[in-house]
Amino acid sequence: MLGVGAYRTRNLPTRSELLPLPIGEMTWTLTDHRGRSVRPADWAGRPVMVFFGFTWCPDVCPTTLSDISLWLEELGADADRMIVALISVDPERDTPDVLANYVSNFDQRILGLTGSADEVAQAAADFRATYRRVAKDAGDYTMDHTAGVFLFHPDGRFVSIIDFHEDRRFAVPKIRRTLS
């Protein structure tokens, strides 16, 4: 299920609970991998591509970031104005420094974003993303999380999601639609 239990669309009965809010209506504050504070207003006028993940994730996250890196290379300079961000669902381990190390392995346009537990929860609620901590042996844990890649127009409108298992050849045309 998309949507976060704690989130309710207060006084917005016509707003879908399944679709991400327009960027301009989001209220999160996060910190990027260079330690700078980032708010939705900072993304005004730019196309946006967002993925939720975490750096301890062995399969889905590096695979998605590899895909995103290939898409960005194919798009070339056309995607230079695009905001491309990995939002960590594991802020306990993913500090800005950890994210900086991680994103350095992928296309340099990809930002890593993290924050306090509450800040990340707010971002997930705004995007209608979900995540859940799953305990493993010896105090270790992993995270279940929304795996799609969210796309937004420069005016902040949500465009579409690139699903994890959808044919990756459709991704670049989808992204192009947000760039014009």
């Binding site: 299920m1 399969d59 590899s66 042996d137 929304t146 795996a147 799609g148 699903d163």
Partner: protein, 157 residues
Amino acid sequence: MKHFLLAAALILSAPAVMACETVTIGDLTIEHAWSKATIGAGRPGVFYVEITNAGSVDDALIGIATPAAGMPMLHETVVQDGIASMPHAMSIPVPAGQNVQLSPGGYHGMLMGLTTALKEGDSFPVTLSFEKAGEVTVNVDVLSLRAEGPDCADAGQ
């Protein structure tokens, strides 16, 4: 894409292209074993491989072991209603006459408790245990964190 092909060409020119080695046990052929570099030893590593069963009897991969990790396990990435999770896989079916891939976004080996960080260009052995065919060891080539698969002349990747 151009950069990917360039990167692939560089990997091909590297001296130890273990991922392109093929081992067999009984009717099973095991090839294209690869892993991704890790940042430090704290994060889990990953193990991908391709298994072909040319025989007429179904088999199953029931476990993996490696000196590179204290707790290697078989997992499957499952995406349901848009949410990715990684349940433990008790065994991975290798049906007669079929090809099974442990590959990004599907079945994979999760290498928890790495003894050391996995570095691009390294290789390490993994022993696969099959229900019927028994055990076989394959060398696993460590590619970059952003690699999407090995580039062997015969690779289906």
